[in-house]
C-alpha cells in the first residue's frame, strides 16, 4: 500500500494529459480534473491515517539505496500539511469550475490541467526525501504558477508576471547552485544523509550553506526583505488562481525552511530567522494598511502571516515548531477562503477596489458572513483557528523567553484586525457609491451570462464548505495539536527520521 505515496505524484500528471486531450469537451475535462483531485485528497487522508497509526512511510523509487536513488518520505509533518493542501486545491477547483465561465474566471481549458500538474508538484515537494528532487518539485510548481498567472495575457498580468518569473527564477538558480555546494561539501543530496553529515562540517561551511538556503527558501516564502514580488503579482491573476497561490505556494517555502533547518540542526540561525520573522509580520501588515483594493490587502497579509510561521522555526523549540505546524494547518485554508470571498465580491460588484463598493451586507448577507468568519480567524480572535495557532506560537515564545518577538506578533495581530475592519467597513457597511457610467472596456455585467444564479449558489456553497473547514481546524484543535506536537518532536530530534529513511 505504500505505493499510494508515489501515486499521489504520478496520477495527477497522467490526468493532466487526459484533461488537455479532452479540452474540447468541457464536461469530460472537468470530470477528469475533479476526479483526480478528489482521488489525491482521499489518498492523502488515508496516508495521514496510516502515518499517524504506524509511523512514516518510506518508498525507495526503483529500489535504489538512499545514497543513489530518490526516496519518498511521508512523515507526520509532510502528510498532515499535504492533506490540508490537497483538500484546499480540490475546493478551489470546484469554485473555479463554477466561476470560470464568467470574465473573472481563469481560462477553463488551461487552468484545470495545469492545476493538476501543480498538485503533483505540491505532493512531490512535501514527500521528497532529497534536496535535488525538492528543487525539481519547486520548478514544477513554479512553472505551473507562471502559466496560471500569465495565461490570459492581459497587460497587467504580463507586467506582474515578468517580475514574478524573474524573481523566482533567480531563487531557483541560487537553489541549484546551493545543491552543488551541498554536494561538494557532503557528497550527497539525500536529506537523511545530509542530516548526518552537515552537522559534522566545520562551522563556516555549515553557516554558509544554512544562510544560502535561507535566502533561497525565504524568497519562495516571501519573507522580508525578499517579498516584493508577491503583492504585485498575486492580485493580477484570476481570483481562483490567487487563492491557490496564496494558500499554498509561499507555505511550501516555509515547509522547506522548517524541513531543512530542523534536519540539519541550524540552531544558530534561530536569531536571524526571528528578526526576519518580526520584520515580515510588521512590514506585511503595514503594507496592507496602506492599500485600498481587497486583493492587494489580502496579498500583503499573505506576507505578514509568513512571519508567524517563521517565528516558530526561529525559536527552534519543540513547542515553537509545533506552533508553526499548526499555524500552517490553519493558514492554508483561511488564506484560500479569504481570496475566494474576494472572488465572490468581485463577481457581485465587478470590482475589488474598496471605494467602489459599499453596503454589500444588505444585498448579499451570505458573502458578509463568509468573509467575517475567516477574517476574524486571520486576526486571531477566539474561538477561531487563528487564535489556537497564535496562542501556540505566543506560548512557545514566552516559554523560550523571546519576549520581543511575542510583542511584535501581538502588535501585528492588532494591525491585522484593523485592516480586516477596514475591508468590512468599506465593503459591507456604508452606502453604496454612486453608480459610475460603465466604462467601455470594463467587463460585461455578470447577469449577462446564462445560468448566473445557479453558478453563484455553487460558488457560495463551495466557499461555505471551505469556511466550515477553517472552523473545523478550531473544533479539532485538540487532536491537531497532538499531531503537530508529535510532528514537531520528530522534526527537532531528527534521529527517528534518519533511521527510518536509512534502515
Amino acid at each position: 500500500m505504500s505505493n499510494v505515496v508515489a501515486l499521489l505524484i504520478v496520477v495527477p500528471i497522467i490526468a493532466a494529459a487526459g484533461g488537455l486531450l479532452a479540452r474540447s469537451r468541457a464536461l469530460l475535462s472537468d470530470a477528469i480534473t475533479l476526479g483526480s483531485l478528489a482521488a489525491s485528497a482521499i489518498g492523502s487522508i488515508w496516508l495521514l491515517a496510516e502515518v499517524r497509526a504506524n509511523g512514516s512511510v518510506v518508498v525507495r523509487i526503483g529500489g535504489w539505496d538512499p545514497e543513489l536513488g530518490i526516496v519518498l518520505v511521508a512523515d507526520l509533518f509532510a502528510s498532515l500539511i499535504l492533506m490540508v493542501a490537497l483538500a484546499t486545491i480540490l475546493v478551489v477547483e470546484i469554485f473555479a469550475i463554477a466561476q470560470r465561465r464568467t470574465v473573472w474566471g481563469a481560462d477553463p481549458e488551461v487552468a484545470g490541467p495545469i492545476l493538476l500538474v501543480l498538485s503533483s508538484g505540491v505532493s512531490l515537494a512535501f514527500l521528497t526525501g532529497d534536496l535535488f528532487t525538492l528543487f525539481v518539485a519547486f520548478e514544477m510548481i513554479l512553472v505551473c504558477s507562471y502559466v496560471l498567472l500569465t495565461h490570459q495575457g492581459h497587460r497587467g498580468q504580463i507586467n506582474a508576471g515578468m517580475t514574478y518569473v524573474v524573481m523566482n527564477l533567480m531563487a531557483s538558480t541560487l537553489f541549484l547552485l546551493g545543491v552543488a555546494f551541498v554536494y561538494a561539501a557532503t557528497g550527497t543530496v539525500n536529506m537523511a544523509l545530509l542530516a548526518e553529515r552537515i552537522p559534522e562540517l566545520d562551522s563556516g561551511t555549515r553557516l554558509g550553506i544554512g544562510l544560502w538556503f535561507l535566502v533561497v527558501f525565504g524568497t519562495k516564502a516571501a519573507a522580508f526583505p525578499l517579498f516584493s514580488w508577491l503583492p504585485d503579482s498575486y492580485p493580477t491573476a484570476p481570483t481562483t488562481i490567487t487563492a491557490v497561490f496564496a494558500g499554498l505556494l509561499t507555505k511550501i517555502g516555509v515547509y522547506a525552511i522548517v524541513r531543512f533547518n530542523t534536519l540539519t540542526g541550524m540552531e544558530e540561525l534561530g536569531p536571524v530567522i526571528l528578526v526576519v520573522a518580526g520584520a515580515t509580520m510588521l512590514i506585511g501588515v503595514s503594507g496592507a494598511l496602506a492599500q485600498d483594493d481587497i486583493k492587494r490587502i489580502l496579498s500583503f497579509h499573505t506576507v505578514s502571516q509568513i512571519g508567524y510561521m517563521l517565528m516558530g522555526v526561529g525559536l527552534f523549540t519543540v513547542a515553537g515548531v509545533a506552533g508553526t505546524v499548526i499555524f500552517l494547518v490553519h493558514q492554508i485554508p483561511v488564506k484560500t477562503v479569504l481570496f475566494l470571498v474576494g472572488g465572490l465580491i468581485e463577481d457581485a460588484e465587478d470590482t475589488s477596489a474598496l471605494d467602489e463598493i459599499g453596503g454589500l451586507a444588505r444585498r448579499r448577507p451570505i458573502i458578509a458572513l463568509l468573509f467575517a468568519l475567516p477574517a476574524l480567524s486571520l486576526a486571531g480572535l477566539p474561538p477561531f483557528s487563528g487564535f489556537v495557532a497564535k496562542l501556540a506560537l505566543v506560548d512557545a515564545g514566552v516559554a523560550a523567553s523571546s519576549i520581543p518577538i511575542v510583542v511584535v506578533s501581538l502588535l501585528a495581530s492588532i494591525l491585522t484586525l484593523l485592516s480586516m475592519t477596514k475591508i468590512w467597513l468599506n465593503v459591507f457597511w456604508g452606502d453604496e457609491p454612486e453608480p459610475t457610467p460603465d466604462s467601455p472596456d470594463g467587463p460585461p455585467a455578470q447577469d449577462a451570462y446564462a445560468g448566473a444564479g445557479r453558478r453563484r449558489y455553487v460558488m457560495e456553497a463551495t466557499t461555505g464548505i471551505a469556511v466550515a473547514g477553517t472552523l473545523a481546524v478550531a473544533l479539532f484543535a485538540g487532536p491537531l495539536w497532538d499531531m503537530s506536537d508529535r510532528a514537531a518532536d520528530d522534526l527537532v530530534n531528527p534521529d527517528r527520521y534518519i533511521s527510518e529513511v536509512l534502515s
Binding site: 507586467n159 508576471g161 524573474v166 554536494y183 492580485p235 477596489a353 466604462s439
Partner: protein, 156 residues
C-alpha cells in the same frame, strides 16, 4: 575542481547577474542562460575528479561520478523550458507595448505620481480588473485595442 573551471563559473555568474539586472527581458533571458550554465558547471565540479564513482562494485580509473551528471541533465532540461517560457513572455510584452521592458510596478508608479503631484492614483490603484479586457480579443487570439502599438509583430 580545476582553477579553469572555477574561473569559468565566476565569469558566467558575473556576466549573468549583470544581464539579469537589465530592464530588457531579452537580456534577462541571456543572463539566466549564463547563470544556468554556471550552476551546471558547479554541479559537475562538485562531483569531484574522475574515477570516484559512488557505485560500490564499479571502481575503475576512467568512470566519473554519474550522480552530478544526472542532476545536470535534469537542470539543463528545466532551464531550457524556462528560457522558452521567458521568450514567450517577452514576445507577448512586445505585442502589447512594442518593447520587452519590465515596467515600473504599482507602488513605484504611485510614489512617482506623488512626487510629481499628478493625482491619478485612483485610476492606477485598480489592478487587473480594469485591464481585464477579455472582450478585446478577436477569435484568432490576436489582441486588439489599447496597449497595442501600430507595429504589429510580423508573426501575428
Amino acid at each position: 575542481m580545476s582553477a579553469a573551471l572555477l574561473l569559468a563559473i565566476a565569469g558566467l555568474v558575473g556576466v549573468g547577474v549583470y544581464l539579469v539586472t537589465a530592464r530588457s527581458l531579452s537580456r534577462i533571458v541571456l543572463g539566466f542562460s549564463m547563470l544556468g550554465h554556471a550552476a551546471v558547471l558547479s554541479l559537475l565540479g562538485a562531483g569531484g575528479r574522475a574515477a570516484q564513482p559512488p557505485l560500490a562494485d564499479r571502481v575503475d580509473d576512467t568512470a566519473a561520478n554519474p550522480l552530478p551528471q544526472a542532476l545536470s541533465l535534469t537542470a539543463i532540461v528545466i532551464s531550457f523550458g524556462l528560457t522558452l517560457f521567458l521568450l514567450a513572455l517577452a514576445r507577448r510584452q512586445n505585442e502589447l507595448t512594442g518593447d520587452d521592458l519590465v515596467e515600473d510596478d504599482l507602488e513605484d508608479r504611485r510614489i512617482a505620481d506623488d512626487e510629481t503631484g499628478t493625482d491619478d492614483g485612483d485610476a492606477e490603484a485598480r489592478p487587473a480588473p480594469s485591464e481585464t479586457d477579455a472582450g478585446d480579443r478577436l477569435d484568432d487570439g490576436v489582441p486588439v485595442g489599447r496597449g497595442v502599438t501600430t507595429q504589429e509583430p510580423a508573426a501575428s
